[in-house]
């Protein structure tokens, strides 16, 4: 196999995620591609958790629909993840023999013909290593041996983690890994192995989560003030920047609430420094009023929304794509804003840079619509692609020539000269009131119209910025899948699978959602007769948004939309393609 998906399920204390992290890091060191999803129950410590890792030497776009290889510490814990962990036919399942659940009660469909192998994980850890907590490391050894994962790289990762601080811990863990390896060789016939035949390159890869990537991208783009308030699944952005931003001369403030957070960012940007805030649905809702201020006052601002399942508290630890309406229309009045959607971990980094680029160039608030599925997953990333796009810009300052300075001067582009404190003669009033060119408030409808037009002109230019639409698949296809954000992964894979089945289909995934890059979409849709809009939103928000804003949809446009929590499957998309595609 060149492409393996494995999952480990257990309780918090079982070290499931740690084991998964080591596997991903090992893969990265070997230049392999890896993709890991973590999943937790509602309990903070000691509850059920699972890690799901896919490894390949081919590019990976999704978590993989089916699991080839499953490690179960406790059947009860596994039972909580049945929505998420579907086994492939003939999968290998290793379970801790210490769990006394009778086989007929295993929550596994007998028809799958899975190979069930009891392993004394707990026993080996307790009796041979004398450290029950190393159960996960024993399992790691077993997994590595069965899959032919690079054991040296795994050990390197372990050593790096405990590093200089705890050399004994590293030793114990490595011992446990070796024990697991040995157990396989001593106990299992050779044929049990699912050998991963992927060949790594010599180029080690980076391992990053989407939240880290967006934070890192912001840092690279020059963010100087980040203000946030903790919320799942956006807190890692706050935590990343708390740790690393000060070194780069910036400051992080954990504010009293989300309103204060966006307010700090607005104040900082108005004063002349690049600023960002991040949250998830409920917190983003609280920011809407201030967002309108940034819109009418034309203050550059980046707001990250790591979407989770809504409405309200919803399912905080799961993903959904149902905050699109809020991004496009959550603020009263007609406010100019930009909505960008990253579609994988690396894209989170790139989109953060683009967000600052657009925010600063057009003096406009930019919303990044990430989601839990992007934010919390880990992916291996090629270092070289990371800094490839070069759109890092700083504040574009007005040139003052002693004449009367008009902050909101009517211009062809809609972008007006901006000053910041310290620029002599650059003083002006900023306000959320409708205003004249010099910033003074007005209640004239005529001026309101002119200023609305001015602000909207920026959107026309932004829609024409290049590089914001990705297409995959057969350029000649009559069927197009339209998708956005994190749905891209499953869609791209489905399109490739469809091609293998001889089905002609292309996928179109805009990175810029608002304003829509209409011309590029028009081109991408040339020759397309049927389209299916695919998304994880019960209300089909993207489908409706396209209907509302885009004139170029094929007459035959269908919607495939469902609520979130469970990530989109390749097979779901493929089913849609099969339904509507012509044969090649």
């Amino acid at each position: 196999m060149r492409d393996v998906t494995l999952a480990i399920a257990g309780s918090g204390g079982d070290g499931v995620i740690t084991a998964g992290d080591f596997i991903v890091q090992a893969a990265a060191r070997k230049g392999l591609n890896a993709f890991m999803l973590k999943s937790y129950g509602p309990q903070i410590r000691g509850g059920e958790s699972s890690a799901r890792i896919r490894i390949s030497d081919r590019p990976l776009y999704s978590q993989g629909d089916f699991v080839d290889f499953l490690v179960v510490f406790s059947w009860k814990d596994l039972a909580r993840f049945l929505d998420e962990i579907k086994l492939r036919k003939g999968a290998v399942v290793l379970y801790d023999e210490a769990d006394k659940t009778p086989p007929e009660e295993f929550p596994i469909d007998a028809e799958l013909g899975a190979e069930l192998i009891p392993v004394p994980f707990k026993k080996m850890a307790a009796e041979e290593i004398k450290v029950p907590l190393t159960k996960n490391m024993v399992a790691l050894g077993v997994i590595a041996e069965l899959l032919h994962l690079p054991l040296d790289a795994i050990k390197d990762a372990v050593i790096k983690k405990f590093g200089k601080r705890k050399p004994e811990a590293a030793e114990v863990n490595i011992h446990a890994i070796d024990l697991g390896k040995k157990w396989v060789n001593d106990n299992l016939p050779k044929g049990t192995q699912i050998v991963l035949e992927a060949e790594g390159t010599d180029e080690p890869k980076l391992v990053m989560t989407g939240d880290d990537a967006v934070a890192f991208g912001a840092l690279h783009a020059g963010v100087k003030v980040f203000a946030g308030y903790p919320i799942t699944p956006a807190s890692p952005i706050l935590e990343f920047l708390s740790k690393w931003l000060p070194n780069f001369g910036g400051t992080v403030v954990q504010t009293e609430d989300e309103i204060a957070a966006i307010s700090y960012a607005i104040g900082a940007s108005w004063a002349g420094r690049q600023a960002m805030t991040a949250s998830s649905g409920p917190g983003i809702a609280l920011k809407q009023e201030a967002l309108g201020l940034a819109g009418i006052a034309e203050i550059p601002l980046v707001v990250v929304n790591v979407q989770r399942v809504g409405p309200s508290t919803g399912i905080p630890s799961k993903s959904e794509q149902a905050d699109l309406y809020q991004a496009v229309g959550g603020t009263p009045g007609d406010i100019p804003r930009v909505v960008l959607a990253p579609s994988d971990v690396e894209d989170n980094f790139q989109v953060a840079i683009e967000a600052f680029y657009l925010a600063e160039k057009y003096q406009i608030p930019v919303i990044i619509l990430s989601d839990q599925f992007l934010g919390e997953r880990s992916e291996t990333i090629d270092e070289k692609v990371l800094f490839a796009r070069k759109r890092v810009i700083s504040r574009q300052l007005a040139k003052l020539n002693g004449g009367e300075y008009k902050r909101y001067k009517l211009t062809d582009t809609g972008v007006s000269p901006m000053t910041i404190p310290g620029m002599r003669g650059g003083q002006y009033i900023t306000s959320g009131l409708e205003h004249l060119e010099d910033g003074r408030p007005t209640s004239s409808g005529t001026i309101h119209q002119v200023m609305s037009e001015k602000r909207a002109r920026k959107l026309h230019l932004i829609a024409e910025e290049s590089g914001f639409v990705r297409t995959y698949g057969d350029p000649e296809a009559e069927l197009a899948i339209l998708a956005w954000g994190s749905s891209k992964g499953a869609v791209r894979e489905a399109v490739e699978a469809a091609a293998e089945q001889g089905l002609k289909v292309k996928a179109i995934v805009p990175q810029l959602i608002y304003p829509l890059p209409e011309k590029v979409l028009d081109e991408a849709l040339q020759g397309v007769k049927r389209a299916v809009v695919i998304e994880l939103s019960y209300g089909a928000q993207f489908y409706r948004f396209l209907r509302a804003y885009y004139d170029g949809l094929p007459a035959e446009t269908y919607s495939y939309a469902r609520g979130g929590a469970n990530p989109l499957l390749v097979s779901e998309v493929l089913e849609q393609i099969q339904k509507y595609a012509q044969e090649a």
């Binding site: 003030v225 690393w244 009033i429």
Partner: protein
């Protein structure tokens, strides 16, 4: 460039002032203009951040980087601005509704962080701009548009609240005494840390001109007998019920400010981490 002597006039703007004739806020504006001149802050180095309300219009009436923001958010916006540009002077301003009702959460936590702002609250015990509803400082029993049978609530005591929260500078002024108020603003601005200046600034339209008389009759200027570094004395003063204290009620120095803490942290981080560029940071992902 040669230094030019700045006068109050240099801080006026051409923005038409839309306060009602006789509004207390005129006095506050004059005091701000005079204080800026006394402090000789170049207009381009001054930021005036206000919320929304009659009083908050003041953000547009000072020749400075003025920001008439949204209701209740002057403090976090001003704090963000100060954090971004610690070399600038930042005044925050607003009304009792803006600061002590919708903005209370920010009031509490801005004080806790000792954000280095001078916060001038034009406390008129009413919502002026929305035409006369009850505010958190409206006296108990007063009839307002939203309490036609009398205000059922007990008023908030912003001075006592700030003191309890650890504010490092607390003063009260009166818009009827511009010179005194000017001095308070000057002192507050020179103070390194959060400076609250609550100003009795009557709304003549919704509470009548007699509010000026009330302050004139009950106002007591704190003299040398009051030691503003003594918390207990300060507390007692904030609890006066008949008399209205005017002057600096409390003041301590040396508490680190938000921007100082941030600068220290940056230095510490650089010492410990010394990343030269974001490319360096890649190593954390290996």
């Amino acid at each position: 460039m040669e230094p030019v002597k700045l006068t109050a006039k240099d801080y006026k703007t051409s923005v038409p002032i839309v306060w009602c004739p006789g509004c207390g806020d005129f006095g506050v504006l004059n005091a701000m203009h005079q204080a800026a001149a006394e402090l000789a802050i170049p207009p381009e180095n001054l930021m005036v951040v206000s919320g929304i309300g009659c009083s908050s219009r003041i953000g547009g009436y000072v020749n400075a980087f003025g920001f008439n923001t949204i209701h209740g958010r002057a403090l976090p916006i001003a704090s963000g601005a100060k954090l971004a540009r610690p070399e600038m002077t930042v005044w925050a301003a607003g009304g009792d509704g803006d600061g002590y009702s919708i903005g209370t959460n920010h009031f509490v936590h801005t004080i806790r962080r000792n954000s280095d702002l001078t916060y001038i609250v034009m406390d008129n015990n009413i919502y002026g701009l929305t035409k006369g509803q009850v505010s958190p400082t409206t006296p108990h029993g007063d009839v307002t548009k939203s309490t036609p049978m009398g205000n059922p609530d007990r008023p908030l005591n912003p001075l006592a609240l700030a003191l309890e929260l650890g504010a490092t500078f607390i003063a009260q002024g009166f818009s009827g005494n511009v010179k005194h108020l000017r001095d308070l603003i000057v002192q507050g601005t020179r103070h390194k840390g959060f400076a609250l200046i609550n100003v009795k600034s009557p709304c003549v339209t919704f509470r009548g001109r007699q509010e000026f008389t009330v302050v004139r009759e009950h106002g007591v200027y704190l003299d040398e007998s009051h030691d503003p570094s003594d918390w207990n004395q300060a507390h007692e003063v904030t609890q006066w019920s008949e008399k209205i204290p005017l002057g600096v009620i409390y003041k301590i120095e040396g508490v680190p400010t938000l921007d100082q803490v941030a600068a220290d942290l940056q230095e510490k981080a650089r010492e410990k981490q010394h990343f030269e560029s974001t490319k360096d940071l890649l190593r954390i992902f290996h």
